[in-house]
Symmetry: C2
Subunit: 467 residues, 2 copies
């Protein structure tokens, strides 16, 4: 099916913001992009049209905790206890329902692809479901119903943490996270993704695709949760499938201290020594790093996935975005715990964190921040053909209103031109009006086309798991 849109303003690779851009697509791909087109009878997109956003780090079930973990002043432990309560209650059906609503919230915010860092694998007592990948398949199904693409970052999570005595076993609500060892993790994931494709899905053209809208990736939860001897099977699986490999890194100083106590090196160094770091790897948070760590990350050409709204909510600290970029890491963005789902807020949060840390402005251009939100994010999730409005790319579009209470006035840059800054620094998820994902209308005029009552579904599914 061919489609046409005429974007009042669109951000095009290498060209910046262009006016009157005729965008054409056939099926799920753009076929032509022509700035300066005369007005026609085609569908007009008023405002600023951007590529689809990638949410490179999500724990879908954390959405249930928004606004309800601050009681008793909300320590980290309040939050963790509640998070485990929710984790313990989910089953494939309730997780499908919750994730469908959360992913619908994401698409309303302009997110066309989510990287789901998934470790709720088994039944609460640790026994596998009849289909050992039932929970992961529920997430893939949730994404299909919400209308966005997903990279299921199937997460190896084997241990309960590190202390001075060494590696702690999984306990209590963590039991369901564990596959036993790295090889068993790989065997389970291989069943999800045999030879890189689902036997039931015909015609899938890329390694790692498990449905037309879904790709499998790997994750190592962290150095706290995966002993080094179990990292190798995960790394090998990811390498064999040319798949993304994500890992939490140095979100809190305590991880650095424990890792050094047990293994004698920093978490970054441990991952480097175990061949975890490479150009398909994303390190998530990367908050507390030494100069030596930064050099290893830059030399390995990893993506650094920052989650500013979660990092402030959990008190992680200010991520060193500029040093990470300076050593050569590509930045990406995630809403992580979903305290907020707003990739534009994450994008400006990267710059704000640097401003607060250095007490000066001007660390990242708006263009660099939007690249993190779009092309870099999609690439870090294995979708190398998404995140730009250009012929051949996946037909994802996000149109942001420039006439809302938040964005009004931002067209009036010097010379009367809009600056990209308006979107990055003034707009919010609430300003997203139109979302097209892989050529399909998912949001029109701020209304989800597939999930009729997103807030209602959120309320119902969250009530079901908070109980």
């Amino acid at each position: 099916m061919t489609r046409q849109w005429l974007a009042e303003l669109a951000w095009l690779p290498g060209q910046g913001i262009c006016r009157d851009v005729l965008i054409e697509a056939n099926g799920d791909r753009f076929t032509a992009v022509t700035p300066g087109s005369a007005a026609s009878s085609t569908e007009r997109l008023a405002g600023l049209t951007l590529p689809g956003f990638a949410n490179a780090h999500s724990h879908a079930f954390h959405r249930a905790l928004r606004g309800v973990t601050q009681a008793d002043r909300g320590t980290f432990w309040t939050w963790r206890e509640r998070m485990y309560q929710v984790a313990a209650r989910l089953d494939p059906d309730s997780y499908l329902a919750l994730a469908r609503a959360v992913y619908a919230e994401m698409t309303l915010a302009g997110i066309s692809c989510v990287g789901e860092f998934h470790y709720l694998h088994h039944q609460p007592d640790g026994r596998p479901y009849a289909d050992p990948n039932a929970m992961g398949r529920a997430l893939v199904q949730a994404a299909a119903e919400a209308g966005l693409r997903i990279t299921l970052l199937d997460t190896c999570y084997l241990a309960g943490g590190l202390d001075q005595s060494g590696v702690l076993p999984l306990a209590g609500p963590q039991i369901r996270f564990g596959d036993g060892d790295g090889a068993k993790w790989a065997a389970r994931v291989e069943a999800l993704c045999p030879d890189g494709r689902d036997p039931d899905a015909q015609g899938l053209d890329g390694q790692g695709l498990i449905a037309p809208h879904a790709r499998a990736g790997a994750a190592i939860h962290s150095v706290r949760a995966v002993p080094p001897e179990h990292m190798y099977p995960v790394v090998t699986w990811a390498s064999r499938h040319d798949a993304p490999l994500h890992v939490h890194l140095s979100e809190q100083r305590a991880e650095n201290d424990a890792c050094r106590a047990v293994y004698g090196v920093s978490p970054t160094r441990l991952l480097y020594d175990e061949d975890v770091l490479g150009p398909r790897t994303s390190v998530v948070h990367a908050t507390h790093l030494s100069s030596a760590d930064l050099q290893l990350l830059g030399g390995s050409q990893v993506y650094a996935c920052l989650c500013p709204t979660t990092e402030r909510d959990l008190g992680d600290g200010l991520a060193p975005a500029r040093p990470l970029a300076a050593v050569g890491c590509s930045l990406t963005l995630g809403s992580d715990s979903h305290a907020v789902i707003d990739i534009l807020e994450e994008a400006r949060g990267v710059e704000y964190a640097e401003r607060l840390a250095r007490r000066s402005r001007g660390h990242f251009t708006a263009e660099a921040l939007l690249q993190a939100a779009t092309s870099a994010g999609h690439a870090s999730l294995g979708w190398l053909d998404a995140g730009e409005i250009t012929p051949g790319a996946r037909a994802d579009l996000v149109t942001v209103s420039l006439d809302s209470i938040r964005t009004a006035g931002t067209r009036s840059h010097a010379g009367g031109e809009l600056a990209l800054e308006a979107a990055v620094f003034a707009a919010s998820a609430a300003d997203v009006r139109t979302v097209v994902i892989s050529g399909r209308d998912v949001v029109r005029d701020g209304v989800h086309q597939l999930v009729p009552d997103v807030p209602g579904e959120l309320a119902r599914t969250i009530r079901a798991v908070l109980g």
Copy 2:
């Protein structure tokens, strides 16, 4: 005129969140507040009803700069240059039009009173307007048209800054800020507010009222802009009128360094020595303080007005909210430069700043943050009878939806009860549905009742001054 509302949930002083609250008002005052009332035919407020928010620190014209000062990576100097360009272009008519739109945006965000830190006093060449208070009166008029109360914090601004050689004169666009000396400042403000009341306004009952919805207060721009010998007339005027006295304090380290170089003491100490600090005083930002400064501020019982969204935008640093509260300062909130107008975002920003600085959660209760947004804020602006839903207080109500995409699910706290945290940590200005100010409906179902097209007015008036 008597009014009744039945709030599904309302936050009441000393009682927390109550259900089915019958709220009654006569004219601009609450007359009765009754939790647990049976459903009736009265107007029902669905969601969580809060007192009106106070925006204790505003520079209305900075709204024109939202999203347009990040170009060339947006250094502080980019911002300052653009800010001065706008300051130079305004006259009483264009400022009335711009401020009316900005104040309407504020009321849509639930703000029932603004503290306008006002220093655009004179013509661009420094000559007074025919009415030397024409600009201030334009702001008072703008607030009337937008439907909220205002405290016009008329600001003494005499010098262009401090350097090693001493006090710099006003220059260029700053010329219009200056009254010449402190005594002339006081004489001008006295004309705005003779004997504490406007001769044309009959029946005003409080000192400092210059219209039924407006109060005059004083401000000393900063130790950079007011030499100590000129502070005395401002302090005296505020004292005689029992009026609020606001001052920018230690927003940047450079202020501390310059003050110490020229005067040999910290800005806090200088203000203390000049009798500026007291229980009617608000110090704005208070970012870079020594322990000795904190003791002086606490001992003086000042309000500390924090502006987290501006402080991150301008790279000021993380304000020491918890130490300020610990020494006895009451915290208040301001949107300042209006990078965002969202008092709930400012409220959680106070807690987030502490989390980032200390890498732990749980510094302020949601209740404490909301008190900063409501009762403390109003009191710091001289409205001691506002900011609580209680009989006798000003009839200001803000109802926040708990069924939006952002707040859905937050009713499901342990036991099925809503926690106040839901509003502070999940809701945003976009969730404000109903706003009543001094007994008058200003916003209904998210629509402004007095200004028909707020985004359109913002766009037009900003275009006019950015040119």
